[in-house]
């Protein structure tokens, strides 16, 4: 049994510091948002083998606190760019579940008209601005979005999610440099889940602190416990405030763990690239159970409230799937639309 990448955060104790800054309703809202993502992901996973969703999936089960904590610090006009691992970001940013599931079922009313698939979930009305299926692809684009905001004197900020392996792409370094040079209103949110597909960080980078990488561009760089939704919220708020007030970019590294395979349904730890024990160790700090435990202990949540939540979510999710499955598929003429903008 080898735990190559242990959890090093504070666990449940980590919530105390932050909780008093938020109303009970706010805290419950955060929990509900995480739970909603979890349940949606589980349902996608459950149905995946039915082959109705002919699209790659990259589940975020285990990584809900980063999306939810980060997006809670953003307004609707703030923009979020994402990588292939889109589901959590899309939902946390307020993306339309129905449009997402329609997209994943390759329907014409999908959020990208069935042209983008699960790696290209967008919902511009809520600032889910764009994604790339190319590792690192969204990073300079997000910097460009931040440059546009700066040039236009708009006060929204831009957040870009990147994985640990994305830091190895040259373009990520180029983007840090440019963002620092222009003091762009941009937050680099790095979800370090220690793996790129099935490759551990240690086979891809020397032993180092990722923060030093960003700091070498004179960018404030912090680490935050990625399973603690409140800590994530707090750090993102600081970064967003800095960006919004003209203080330039911030780099946030959040160690997290994905409980499932890189892509597809189920976990693949048993294939040997990581130890099942490692996943199990992280499952003991599941961001949901950790936070619900905290809420329960504080009397903000109980079994009954949870059941009500679950029920509503189950209904919403069932509805959305039903709609997706009943939605029309595109016709041939749709293929030729939108190759060029008018």
């Amino acid at each position: 049994m080898t735990i190559r990448y242990p959890y090093t955060g504070e666990g449940a104790r980590g919530f105390d510091r932050f909780a008093q800054s938020h109303s009970g309703a706010k805290l419950l809202g955060l929990y509900r948002s995480m739970l909603r993502i979890r349940r949606i992901e589980e349902e996608i996973e459950r149905r995946y083998h039915q082959d109705q969703m002919k699209t790659p999936i990259h589940l975020v089960i285990g990584q809900e606190a980063t999306s939810v904590g980060c997006c809670a610090a953003l307004g609707e006009t703030d923009l979020l760019y994402s990588s292939h691992r889109t589901h959590g970001n899309y939902l946390a940013k307020g993306g339309d579940l129905k449009a997402m599931l329609c997209e994943m079922h390759c329907r014409i009313n999908g959020c990208a008209g069935s042209r983008g698939g699960s790696m290209h979930l967008i919902d511009k009305r809520v600032g889910m601005a764009g994604t790339s299926a190319i590792v690192g692809g969204a990073v300079p684009i997000a910097a460009g979005a931040a440059l546009a905001a700066q040039m236009k004197g708009e006060d929204h900020v831009v957040v870009v999610f990147l994985g640990d392996s994305t830091t190895e792409e040259g373009v990520a370094s180029e983007s840090l440099n440019f963002a620092a040079l222009k003091q762009l209103p941009l937050v680099f949110f790095c979800e370090n889940n220690f793996y790129s597909v099935q490759s551990p960080l240690a086979t891809r980078q020397p032993a180092r602190d990722l923060r030093t990488w960003a700091a070498s561009y004179a960018i404030p760089a912090v680490r935050v416990d990625g399973v603690n939704v409140l800590a994530v919220l707090e750090e993102t708020q600081t970064a967003v405030a800095r960006a919004r007030s003209g203080g330039g970019p911030t780099f946030i590294e959040a160690p997290v763990y994905r409980f499932r395979a890189h892509g597809g349904a189920g976990d693949d730890s048993r294939t040997g690239y990581r130890d099942v024990a490692e996943r199990e160790a992280w499952e003991r700090v599941d961001p949901l159970t950790l936070f619900s435990g905290f809420l329960m202990a504080g009397g903000m949540l109980d079994e009954r409230a949870t059941a009500v939540m679950e029920e509503a979510l189950a209904a919403e999710i069932a509805d959305a799937f039903e709609l997706a499955l009943a939605s029309p598929i595109p016709v041939e003429a749709d293929l030729y639309r939108h190759v060029y903008a008018d």
């Binding site: 601005a129 460009g144 546009a148 040039m151 983007s175 440019f178 639309r337 939108h338 190759v339 903008a341």
Partner: protein, 345 residues
Amino acid sequence: MPWDEALVNSLVYDKPDPGEGRVSTYVSAVREALTLALEHDPRVFVLGQGVDDPSAMFGTTRGLQQQFGSQRVFDIPLSEEGMMGVSAGAAMNGMRPVYMHNRPDFILLAFNQLVTHAAKFHFMDNGTTDVPMVVWAAIGRGWGSGAQHSQAIHGMLLGVPGLKIVMPSTPYDAKGLLLSAIIDNNPVCVFEHRWLMKKDGVVPEGLYRVPIGKGVYRRRGKDVTIVGASHAIELGAQAASLLASEGIEAEVIDLRTVKPLDEAIVLESLKKTGRLVVVDTAWMKGGLCAEIGCLAAEKGFADLKAPVCRVGLPDVPTPAGYTLEQFYYPDAARIAAAARGIVRV
């Protein structure tokens, strides 16, 4: 007057060029287009390595930073891929970047952002995102440019859906096409050629557009069609003069845009001449020469009376010395010889 309205009201010349009027250089024509765009549209900005330096991108950006400020005309880090992504991201968010490169070779560093991102986002986003950006570069040739500083890359990009590519050959087109490119709501590559930079020509003042996707006759003839763009069609026109003295009347078509291609004009000419020479500044294999040659075999077959000829670069990297370059780059004589060969078939 806002840009859009000004442009809607601006002239679109369908003629090759206005024939007479103010003469200016190619470089001034480009600078004028940039100036007008910056003046009329606050969304336009110009970025590129050294655009604000004393060399000023061959002079095309001279004075622009002084006039429009360093927010709108600025130098950038040596990060081709990153800055292509930044340009795309800015374009997706309401700006209209003009990203200038000294040489197309440097755009090869940014193919991922250009090909897989900028060109495809509009489609992937189901039409909800526009990416109105211009990627400008001048093809190098001579004085030791060599294998790494002389690549004409438009042939590689013909198969990229979502991109447009223009390659002007006259100062008039350089201004009008650049304005069209900036106004276009898609990523447009503008490939200039270093050997055209000093050329003079008639360039009307003020706003006008040369339409993207429309070729133009540079010379009328009935015996053979010479098709190409940029510096290659300059040589093509010279070749036509040589041929004229021998009694061969060549028709010369300047494509001006290589994607989307004006197939109609090529096919129309072919109907008359039945003979085709395709000229290009790039390699002959798999690029523009191949595309137009294939077009003739596909849609112009009934009119073809002789084999198609390509005149471009051999399947060899560019040598750095002028001593080898002389054998490498085709000239008017070589184009004329190709035409002669098929006219006599």
